[in-house]
């Protein structure tokens, strides 16, 4: 079975060897003995589709192109030590999604070793192969497939080594539990013994056969998350827990408003304080001190004046008009409608005119904040190298290699002189692609001449990180008398093109993403615009179903042909009891979709209390059905599918960033409401294990059904049709 992407040309080479390649030099530098197996991709394939990667990275985040200094062609590598431990080196990072565990399972499966024999080295730019970043639900389909290949190739090599040692036929040997056994003679040898033996040079073409999921024994099971004991005892060190000898604590001066420039500065008082270092570099002003309290005092003593940015300053009230007004020509207008941002077929204009039933709606989505519970953090340390300074930074970023390049640019130093390490991090959800905190910590450390830790405050996270984009979406849809959707136009302003095309079979359609000017810093967010686009699409489809007079589930099934999508809709409806009677003031809704290899359908039940001022809704129950192919670890997957749904509740019902005159006005957890225990409904998860399909990721798609399912349920309960996210921030809004 091959991976979901065409990686057929990957080669596996075994080191050590004779060939003096950059690859070999790199590995000999970083590993000791044992057997090293490297999965090598030709340059072109190491960068499968740069455009998509960049889109996935979204917004701020710098140049995704490779820089010199890393063997770019390396996709993954594995070392088997004389002790039999298989160490995997991957540039992916663990943010709570569970890939430290699931990737190890996939490797262990193919290598035929117990899971305990696998050690994962992740997100260290000196040790791991270059990686674009951990985002876009790509770890499972891409890295998982690569590790399976490298594991299978390594196993085959070990079998051959044993065969040579014994002058036996490779076909008569079996590999299991970290050993090669010759069934005929009963001889056996451990991987460690083989790996500690003589050097071999091997280049293996990538024709390795992978174990089909139906025959998995280590993968496909719910093994507990790696390192759990350290997580429940406080022993795990997140970036914000890293300490270094002589380390100082940093604070950074922030502008009075977004885009304001520094017009005056008096830092004399801070400079006179004991144990305080003041760092200035252009617009950057910060302090480092022996503890956080002293750093706060020093920062507070700095007198700064700011000049506000010029130009129009929309607020959270006027943003939607602003986004519509400032739209740039779309890619569809510039390049034609046959790309990721724009698509058309048939004649939607006249199809709409002829439609027996029509729906025309505008939807809006607010800026929202990722609010990872561990804010941005970095510990920076400078040292001397023979040919110039070296910089080491621990930081919780989803893109360690991009941050390394950002640091190298900021300090004008060669990329290989910078090392970025990513401890397993307190989550990110697409919000930690960038290296601003790492650069700030490094500036402070450079001036101080000592290591510096910088942890952003929650307020800084709200004010100076980036947001999920706000957006406006216009939908027009038409159906014939029998309930076939015949016409569809969909214009998205600013929120983004992810999952913009309808998954329904519609003969006449035009979809288009229109980029606009964003007054706030915006970027990637779990699922990107797929949440907004699913909300608008599914709300419009729900309304169209009701216009036609059909049940919303039946209407969808009638207009869908993808069997896997139909299957998740049916599975969710069945578990939920779609036909079941609910109390009079309750409503139910269903919605779903497809994105990044995952199929989701969500049912929701809400209770409405229209007597309360403004109306109140409470989410009572939700069912999420999900199919992302062959399941690598059911419990980790269920955790993701459940967590995604819960995070989606926040954006659906009450999360929104308020701003005015370039200032975020709800930059505290007391004012920015995230889901709490009392907001959580009864939740059921249905996972569909498609062992005949490649495995895809689950970090994003499970969020996408909840907002429109809740929206449809609110309509049924109240007669108010929600048209903006969040839907129930201070009472219901929308149109009847």
């Amino acid at each position: 079975m091959s991976g979901p992407r065409g990686e057929g040309e990957l080669r596996v080479v075994m080191l050590p060897g004779e060939e003096e390649s950059t690859t070999r030099r790199h590995f000999l530098k970083v590993v000791g003995g044992g057997l090293v197996v490297v999965l090598v991709a030709p340059r072109a394939l190491a960068w499968p589709d740069a455009a998509t990667e960049q889109a996935g990275a979204g917004g701020p985040g710098g140049d995704p192109r490779p820089a010199a200094g890393t063997p770019r062609e390396i996709a993954a590598w594995l070392q088997i030590g004389p002790d039999g431990v298989a160490t995997v080196y991957t540039g992916k990072v663990e943010f709570g999604q569970g890939i430290r565990t699931s990737l190890a399972q996939e490797l262990a499966e193919e290598l035929r070793v117990p899971l305990e024999a696998v050690c994962m080295v992740m997100g260290d730019t000196d040790l791991t192969p270059y990686d674009m970043g951990t985002f876009g639900s790509r770890s499972t389909p891409q890295m998982g497939t690569r590790l399976r290949k490298v594991g299978a190739a390594a196993r085959r090599l070990l079998v051959r080594m044993a065969a040579e040692r014994w002058s036996a036929e490779p076909g008569s040997l079996t590999a299991a539990a970290g050993r090669i056994t010759d069934r005929a003679s009963g001889r056996s040898v451990t991987y460690g013994e083989l790996a500690g033996g003589e050097e071999l040079t091997e280049i293996v073409e990538d024709d390795v056969e992978l174990t089909p999921p139906a025959r998995w024994s280590v993968a496909g099971r719910s093994v507990p998350r790696a390192g759990g004991a350290d997580l429940v005892t406080g022993a795990h060190h997140y970036t914000s827990d890293v300490t270094r000898p002589g380390m100082l604590y940093g604070k950074v001066l922030r502008p009075a408003s977004i885009g304001a420039t520094l017009s005056g500065l008096d830092a004399n008082a801070a400079e006179a304080m004991d144990g305080v270092v003041v760092a200035r570099d252009g617009a950057f002003v910060g302090v480092a001190a022996t503890d956080t309290r002293v750093a706060e005092h020093a920062l507070a003593s700095i007198r700064a004046t700011w000049k506000s940015a010029a130009g129009p300053r929309p607020s959270s009230k006027t943003i939607y008009d602003f986004l519509r007004r400032t739209r740039a020509p779309s890619r569809g207008e510039r390049e034609g409608r046959g790309n990721r941002d724009a698509f058309s077929r048939g004649d939607p204009g006249s199809a709409l005119e002829k439609a027996a039933h029509r729906v025309e709606r505008t939807f809006t989505v607010a800026y929202i904040a990722h609010t990872p519970l561990e804010p941005r953090a970095a510990v920076a340390e400078w040292s001397k190298g023979v040919d110039g300074p070296r910089l080491t930074v621990w930081t919780g970023t989803q893109r360690p290699f991009a941050v390394r390049e950002e640091l190298a640019r900021a300090f004008e130093m060669p990329v290989p002189h910078v090392r970025v390490l990513v401890p397993d991090t307190g989550s990110g959800y697409g919000g930690k692609h960038t290296g601003e905190c790492a650069v700030e910590a490094a500036r402070l450390a450079k001036t101080a001449g000592r290591p510096v830790k910088l942890v952003w405050t929650r307020e800084e996270e709200f004010r100076w990180a980036y947001f999920r984009p706000a957006g406006v979406i216009d939908v027009r849809a038409g159906a014939d008398a029998e309930g076939t959707i015949t016409a569809w136009t969909f214009d998205n302003y600013n929120s983004g093109p992810a999952a913009i095309r309808p998954m329904y079979d519609i003969a006449h359609q035009r979809v288009e993403f229109h980029p606009s000017e964003s007054p706030l810093r915006q970027g990637s967010y779990r699922g990107l615009a797929a949440t907004a686009n699913h909300f608008a699409r599914e709300m419009a489809v729900d309304e169209l179903a009701r216009e036609v007079g059909k049940d919303p589930l039946a209407f969808r099934l009638q207009n869908l042909s993808d069997p896997r999508l139909k299957a998740v809709f049916r599975a969710a409806a069945e578990r939920f009891g779609w036909e079941r009677e609910v109390p009079r003031d309750h409503g139910v809704g269903i919605a779903g979709g497809f994105e990044k290899g995952g199929y989701v359908a969500t049912c929701a039940e809400v209770a409405a209390d229209r007597d309360r001022e403004g109306g109140r809704v409470r989410l009572v129950r939700a069912v999420n059905a999900f199919d992302c192919g062959a399941i690598v670890n059911p419990d980790l997957l269920r955790n993701q599918v459940e967590g995604g749904l819960i995070q989606g509740i926040g954006g659906a019902l009450f999360e929104a960033i308020d701003f005015r005159d370039g200032v975020i006005t709800n930059a505290h957890l007391a004012d920015y409401r995230v889901p709490r225990f009392s907001d959580i409904p009864e939740i059921e998860i249905v996972l569909i294990d498609r062992k005949d399909q490649p495995s895809y990721g689950a970090g994003e798609t499970p969020l996408m059904g909840i907002a429109p399912a809740v929206g449809a349920a609110i309509f049924e309960a109240t007669g108010v049709r929600p048209s903006s996210l969040p839907m129930a921030r201070g009472g219901l809004s929308g149109s009847s």
Binding site: G96, Q97, G98, S222, P224, R225, G228, A229, L231, V232, T233, G234, A235, H237, Y238, S240, D241, T243, D291, R293, P372, L373, E374, P375, D424, T425, G426, S427, Y429, T457, R458, P563, D627, I631, P634, R638, N639, Q640, E642, G643, G644, L645, I646, Q647, L669, A670, V674, P675, R676, F677, I680, E684, I685, V686, L687, I688, D689, R690, K691, D692
Partner: protein, 170 residues
């Protein structure tokens, strides 16, 4: 100012500004980094510790308040090399993803159960409302608390997950 602290059964004398938060002193002076910063404003519970046996948000507790009173942090919850039942239950239910919230959740839950050994689900929700999990592991946390209280008899999250996996091959 010199302040005598008693943390996880150990005595420390720290020379600090008495208005500094207990959280900062635990993390920066005593190296106990298992207690986390999430907001600094008593809004997330990531910094929950026990002070005199009661749960407090260490980020808004001046260190002077802790003088002479026993403090327990996540590092001191396990005794004699044995995990506290709440820690054990969080592992069994795998009640975390990134686990940054977990120490605060466990400390809040342990305090809740010390006060009310057999809470109803509504009491658990009320007791945990001040703790934020951004990864959305709330249902597992509730399950873990029930388990620690001896209220659940099912096979835990993993078993439930297995039960809800449908294998499908058209």
């Amino acid at each position: 100012m010199r302040i005598a602290l008693q943390v996880n059964g150990q005595r420390h004398a720290v020379d600090v500004d008495p208005s500094r938060s207990l959280l900062e002193v635990l993390r920066e002076e005593l190296g106990l980094t298992g207690t986390h910063y999430g907001c600094g404003e008593s809004q997330c519970g990531a910094c929950t510790v026990h002070l005199g046996g009661r749960p407090v948000h260490a980020c808004v507790t001046p260190v002077s308040d802790a003088a002479g009173r026993p403090v327990t942090t996540i590092e001191g919850l396990a005794t004699g090399g044995r995990l506290h039942p709440v820690q054990r239950a969080f592992l069994d239910e795998e009640a975390f993803q990134c686990a940054y919230c977990t120490p605060g959740m466990i400390m809040a839950a342990a305090a809740l159960l010390a006060e009310n050994p057999r809470p109803t689900d509504a009491e658990i929700v009320r007791g945990m409302e001040g703790n934020v999990c951004r990864c959305g592991t709330h249902p597992r946390i509730v399950a873990a608390i029930r388990r620690a209280a001896g209220l659940s008899s099912d096979g835990g999250a993993a078993a439930k997950a297995r039960a809800s996996v449908t294998e499908s091959r058209p």
